[in-house]
């Protein structure tokens, strides 16, 4: 009896330890829960004020970030944020370790110690990358009121914290335009993860963009009910492609894998068939490769690097936007679309998308982010 119990305890403990070591990567696959489409979490940017630092370059301002469990090379938010900080540092003659740095979180329990360590190390501005660090930033910001903090894709209400968000509806609008221009059947589709405000912005933006080019376009919207349901994603994609919808945009994290899988399978069996998928959050070009083709038309991306870079500069210049919620949009290059697939994104399409982009930036059109706004927008067309 004792022996049995001991074995179980040991098994469970081993499981827990290994799980704890590994779980970190949650961010990549399905963070969706709160961010719907974010396959990875976004970081926070913190722009902190100008304190003195000890770095060598043309500034004594120092910046650091704490990754979430995705790690700094996650090909998504963390990596993007780090690239932004690196670019900012190099611009000002700083080097890693002297002026800017990061700490990697291997488990959810690392956030607070990491943030604390950086704050004690006298970094002026500390970013937490991703909604998972929301609580950590809120706690540590209270403990270090003279430091500046930033949080990406989440909101922390404190005077020394800036909250960084993204105008997903605008990037979705542009890929919607691209989809409407690319389709041969005038039928396109949208796969959402779960119904939420964030995913609504993606859906509404996409529909508004497509309708702007072709008011009669047939857009089908389906929600998978989760961000980790690749099988459901594949079912939906299969049914949409069956109905001759030739361009499908997903804002569904890991569920979107099913879309790419299905599109590639169809392309493999019939290389001449024109079908496309549109990626989200980061450039999903890699996911679309099949033989000599690529079914990824474009991706609606979040430029965490630009956001971090800009906030760092603001903070360095003494304009730290503490307590504010910054929305990075097309104008500030916080969101955008990709043209990696040159065969699919022809110059004609790019030109047209660019012209809409200018209209959004100039304020000539305002992209809706809610269903109500979409109806109004439709009437105004």
């Amino acid at each position: 009896m004792k022996k049995r119990f001991l074995l179980l305890v040991m098994l469970l403990t081993l499981g827990l330890i290994v799980a704890a070591c590994g779980n970190n990567d949650d961010n990549n696959a399905a963070d969706g829960n709160d961010n719907g489409t974010d396959t990875e979490q976004n970081g926070n940017d913190n722009a902190s004020g100008n304190d003195e630092g000890e770095a060598g370059g043309d500034t004594d301002y120092t910046v650091a970030m704490v990754t979430d469990v995705g790690g700094v090379d996650d090909k998504s938010f963390n990596q993007s944020a780090w690239e932004g900080i690196t670019a900012w540092g190099e611009e000002h003659g700083l080097a890693k370790g002297e002026g800017f740095d990061y700490l990697q979180s291997n488990t959810d329990a690392d956030y607070i110690p990491n943030l604390q360590q950086l704050a004690r190390a006298d970094f002026d501005l500390i970013y937490g990358i991703g909604f998972k660090l929301e609580k950590g930033i809120a706690d540590i910001a209270k403990q270090f009121p003279d430091k500046h903090f930033g949080i990406v894709d989440s909101v922390v209400d404190a005077d020394n914290v800036v909250s960084i968000g993204f105008a997903d509806n605008e990037s979705s609008f542009l890929v919607g335009v691209a989809a409407a221009l690319k389709t041969n059947t005038n039928k396109i589709g949208f796969i959402g993860g779960m119904e939420s405000d964030i995913i609504e912005a993606f859906e509404v933006g996409f529909r508004a963009g497509a309708m702007s080019v072709n008011p009669d376009i047939d857009i089908k919207v389906q929600y998978a009910g989760g961000f980790d349901k690749a099988d459901e994603g594949k079912l939906i994609a299969s049914s949409m492609y069956n109905e001759d919808r030739d361009v499908i945009f997903h804002a569904a994290g890991g569920t979107g894998n099913g879309l790419f899988n299905q599109a590639k399978d169809l392309k493999k069996n019939d290389p001449d068939r024109e079908i496309w998928a549109i990626g989200v959050d980061r450039d999903q070009h890699e996911e679309g490769k099949i033989d000599d083709h690529n079914i990824t038309l474009t991706s609606a991306v979040k430029r965490v690097d630009n956001a971090v870079h800009e906030v760092s500069n603001m903070a360095m210049d003494g304009n730290f936007p503490g307590g504010e919620i910054l929305k990075f949009d097309l104008k500030s290059e916080g969101v955008g679309y990709t043209t990696t697939n040159e065969d699919a994104m022809t110059q004609d399409i790019i030109d047209e998308v660019e012209s809409w982009k200018e209209k959004i930036i100039s304020g000539e059109i305002e992209v809706p982010s809610k269903y109500d706004g979409l109806e109004e927008y439709e009437e105004s067309l």
Binding site: V18, C21, G22, N24, L235, N257
Partner: protein
Amino acid sequence: MEILQSIIPTALFFSAPLIFTALGGVFSERSGVINIGLEGLMIMGAFVGIVFNLTFADVFGDWTPWVSIFVAMIVSGIFSIIHAVASVSLRANQVVSGVAINMLALGIGIFLTKEWYGKGQTEMVSKPFYTTDVPFLSDIPVIGPMFFQSMYMTTYLAIFLAIASWFVLFKTPFGLRLRAVGEHPMAADTNGVNVYKMRYIAVILSGALGGLGGSVYALTIASNFSHATIAGQGFMSLAAVIFGKWHPLGAMGAAIFFGLAQSLSVVSSSVPLLQDVPQVFLLVAPYVLTILALAGLIGRADAPKANGIPYIKGTR
């Protein structure tokens, strides 16, 4: 008719991984060992299948996916020995041991992914399974498009294995012994059947089949491995085992039923009659149907009598 043509093929690819895994559950539970660890065995299978595929795609060329699922099957079979040792030899609580398997598999998979690839999820595999048309059969009108066009070969393998499992369990001496061990181990022991050996074999078989299910899921649907690749499919398979009354063909039928319900919930948005139904109802429909079926339609679900009870030699 067109609706059927779009529902059936998608339902079948959805069901295939569940069929494999449910068959594994049938073997294990028929021998008297509860296997809550199916989810973990699928995770192990998915992990091994993806990693092997990524690593050896150049070596095996177009055969890579097949070799991958084979390797995944073997590794998961070995992995399931943990469950066998704990629940058969050490007489641990089988539910707890199964839960441990689930946690352990996810932990190992993600930990190694981070170690080997430096990030939380792998790349997409370059050699997944692709659908094909079955020669000749796909040209048959009506039936062809439903059952033989754009199908994964693994789906046929699943159906074949279900029939083979039925044959093994109900038509061979080995199957009789396995079932006897699950119904009345002492009687079986008295007649010279090695209860422990049979249970070990059954658990390892369930590990192999669970691994097969997981790797087939990964290579037909998800294309990469992450913490969310297998999210509940193992438990759906377990439900299929019970729904199917611990019978291989019943389990297959239940898995296909889940697939049909799931597929219907997706396709129904383009069916005129169902179009106006709010989507949330369609999304929960598969689960409601399952509960209804379990509660009323199939009658009593009788588990093997010795299921979950460790066998101690010499006790009455």
